[in-house]
């Protein structure tokens, strides 16, 4: 059974269509990544799953139950912008949020998580004294302290340094290992590639990708070449059959036209410069994202 089922959901704000005909099934126990440009409808979808917004039409079921007006104690939700009572002590605010979810052993769980994320020394400090990263970790604890079966995280890694990002990432995977279903939205494609069992992309309110990373990449074939060369990006200009060059500095990614043979490209490159590495690959999630939502795609849609 799916943890979340969304069927033909539509949500509008005035004349703006935020989500349009969205259908989705999030398997239990999976880590499901929501990606999409800003304003594409990710947060609105998450809020509808949380029963904060009601869809105009369509249905949303969580653990098989229609949610409208129902309790959401089985779901932990961390919104994109952190919301903590600044003048409360860290431990008190966590206990409040845990109790509000009717959580079990909230006091023990609060202390366990504070230690787990190295915030034990800050337990009796006021929230307003915390750094942004610390506050984000506290917000994460507030989300999971009641041991929800479904965890929804809206941009959980934004603004975190690598150490804290790793700590949250490990905690998320630990929740999954304990049987929780995790949905999170992110703009970091590498995080989505590494962590998610399934990836869903929404663009202008509509679903444009949904599936495992391998399945998504398979849709686009092996039309990508990653090259490292002495000449760098400068020597790639004017290569026949290359639709687009993405320059990552020391590495360049080339997207080939449909019928172009990669080995022909390799021969041309060798003639121009010394090639250090040459990899025929499937497109990265980043590249797929840009193909769907980048300026060229927007021009195509708008044009």
């Amino acid at each position: 059974m799916s943890a979340v089922e969304i069927e033909a959901v539509r949500k509008t704000f005035g004349k703006t269509v935020a989500v349009d005909g969205l259908s989705l099934a999030v398997p239990r126990g999976s880590v499901y990544g929501f990606i999409g440009p800003n304003g594409s409808g990710k947060t609105t979808t998450l809020r509808m799953i949380m029963n904060i917004y009601y869809p105009d039409s369509g249905a949303i079921r969580v653990f098989g139950e229609g949610l409208r007006g129902a309790s959401t104690d089985r779901i932990g939700y961390m919104p994109e912008e952190r919301g903590l009572y600044r003048r409360m002590k860290v431990r008190d605010v966590l206990r409040f949020y845990g109790d509000l979810k009717n959580g079990r052993d909230v006091r023990c769980e609060v202390d366990r998580w504070l230690e787990r994320l190295e915030l034990g020394d800050w337990a009796d400090k006021k929230v307003e004294t915390l750094s942004k990263g610390m506050a984000q970790k506290v917000q994460f604890i507030a989300t999971v302290v009641a041991r929800p079966e479904l965890v929804i995280l809206d941009e959980p890694f934004t603004g975190l340094d690598p150490v804290n990002a790793d700590a949250i990432r490990e905690a998320v995977l630990e929740l999954q290992a304990d049987g929780a279903t995790v949905i999170f939205s992110t703009h970091d494609m590498s995080v989505a590639e590494r962590m998610c069992d399934f990836i869903f992309m929404i663009f202008k309110g509509r679903k444009v990708l949904d599936g495992t990373l391998a399945a998504i990449q398979a849709q686009y074939g092996s039309d990508t070449i990653r090259v490292k060369s002495e000449g760098g990006a400068a020597v790639l200009a004017g290569l026949d059959g290359v639709e687009r060059v993405t320059n990552f500095g020391r590495l360049q990614e080339l997207r080939l036209a449909g019928d172009r043979d990669p080995y022909t490209i390799l021969r041309e490159l060798v003639a121009r410069t010394r090639v250090e590495s040459f990899e025929i690959a499937r497109p990265s999630l980043h590249d797929i994202f840009v193909r769907i939502a980048g300026p060229e795609a927007k021009e195509a849609v708008d044009g």
């Binding site: 949380m50 939700y77 919301g83 903590l84």
Partner: protein, 438 residues
């Protein structure tokens, strides 16, 4: 209900655990009662500098009487009989010859002397003052001063002038005032409380004489207390909800509780804060007043009503303020909505005096039955009127219960829509639209 209780509990503890609450409990009544306290503390602070009053007597009949009356007054009230200390200003009457050729010039010159503080005021007595029915214009007495309407000496100066005129009129009618010494004696009516029977002894107790201050100040204490507890429990909800919205706390809470539960929890937290403040004030007030030996002025019969009104007032106003707060995006918007939000509290304060003076009038009765005004106005009427028909407060409570239900329901609809809506301007149009559409 468990979530409502938890939200209310957090709201309550977040307020009462602060130093601001404890300090405010003490400071607020001092600020509110400041004027009354000042009256008590500084009531005997009188400017004892002599007052020079010029009298322009165009009738030629009364100037000497004014001079004599001032001398008589000065001999009695200016110095304290025991200490010899000067406690009142002496009145110095300067009789000025009327300038019949240029009366306006004379008035200007005297006015300038008042402006220069060489005179306190000047009185002009019309030439026909003895027979006012014959020529009203010529019979006028004018008192010229900087604050003539508020000046107590204006009414003082009327007495010797009119006393002298009455003597003259009687003499003209053939009655010799000197032979009838009590002709102008004045007997006042002493303000006195009602007679009561002591419930323990059964004896009829002698009523106390009451002062104007008692008549005004005693009934004002209860509505002032009501205003205070509303300020504690309901008004802060507007800013609190606005903060929770702008700091995105609302979205987190709404991940666990329904909007209605969230709002109701906050309102009930406000109720608990108010009842705490009310209990502290009532207990402290009763103890202080009893210690002062003024226990009979404590309106015990309205205290239960006070708590009922407090509870319903905070629910009514709290729901309204929470809804107002939910449509605000920042403190400046909250500030601009504060004035209309405060009107239900301020309007009863504006009409306190007429209600106090005529508590049984149709005006007072009708206003006190309007649910938003009932807590303050019905309370004041119950304090001053022992014979208020019981159906009136009961109807008032019924109206408040109905209005509270309506306010919570409507406030909940607005709250649900507005609490997550960013950037939409906070105005009454949106408020009404969301209230109607939900």
């Amino acid at each position: 209900m468990d979530k409502v209780r938890r939200i209310a509990q957090r709201e309550y503890l977040a307020t009462v655990r602060t130093k601001g609450f404890i300090i405010g409990l003490v400071v607020a009544p001092v600020v509110f009662g400041g004027s009354a306290l000042a009256m008590v503390l500084f009531g005997d602070q009188v400017d004892t500098r002599d007052r020079v009053i010029a009298v322009v007597d165009r009738s030629g009949l009364v100037a000497e009487a004014v001079v004599a009356a001032a001398e008589a007054r000065n001999a009695v009230v200016v110095y304290d009989g025991e200490t010899g200390e000067k406690v009142r200003p002496a009145l110095v009457i300067a009789v000025v010859e009327p300038d019949d050729r240029d009366p306006d010039g004379q008035r200007l010159e005297l006015s300038n002397r008042v402006r220069d503080r060489r005179l306190h005021a000047f009185v002009e007595v019309g030439p026909g003052v003895l027979r006012p029915r014959e020529d009203t214009a010529a019979a006028r007495i004018r008192y010229y001063a900087k604050s003539a309407a508020m000046d107590d000496l204006r009414s003082w100066v009327e007495r010797p002038i009119n006393g002298r005129l009455r003597e003259l009129r009687l003499a003209a009618a053939g009655v010799e005032p000197a032979e009838h010494g009590d002709m102008f004696d004045w007997v006042g009516a002493a303000p006195t409380g009602l007679v009561v029977r002591d419930p323990e002894t059964g004896a009829i107790e002698q009523p106390r004489s009451s002062s104007e201050a008692e008549a005004i100040i005693a009934p004002l204490v209860m509505p002032m207390l009501m205003l205070l507890v509303i300020m504690w429990g309901a008004v802060p909800l507007l800013n609190a909800v606005m903060e929770e919205k702008s700091q995105r706390i609302a979205e987190v809470v709404l991940g666990s509780a329904k909007p209605f539960e969230f709002m109701l929890g906050k309102v009930l937290g406000g109720v608990a804060v108010s009842l705490t403040a009310a209990t502290v004030y009532i207990i402290a007030g009763v103890l202080v007043i009893r210690n002062m030996g003024l226990a009979e002025y404590i309106p015990y019969h309205v205290l239960p009503w006070f708590f009922v009104y407090t509870l319903l007032a905070i629910v009514m106003l709290g729901a309204i303020y929470a809804a107002f707060g939910s449509i605000c995006n920042d403190p400046s918007e909250a500030q601009s909505l504060m004035l209309p939000a405060m009107l239900p509290v301020m309007i009863p304060m504006f009409v306190l005096v007429p209600v106090l003076k005529e508590p049984e009038s149709t005006f007072s009765t009708a206003l006190s039955l309007f649910p938003l005004f009932t807590p303050i106005l019905m309370l004041i009427r119950q304090t001053v009127l022992e014979s208020l028909p019981v159906w009136q407060p009961l109807l008032g409570v019924l109206g408040m219960v109905a209005f509270a239900a309506l306010a919570v329901w409507t406030g909940g609809r607005v709250f649900r829509v507005a609490i997550l809506m960013q950037g939409t301007p906070a105005n009454l149009g949106n408020l009404v639209r969301w209230a109607l559409r939900g």
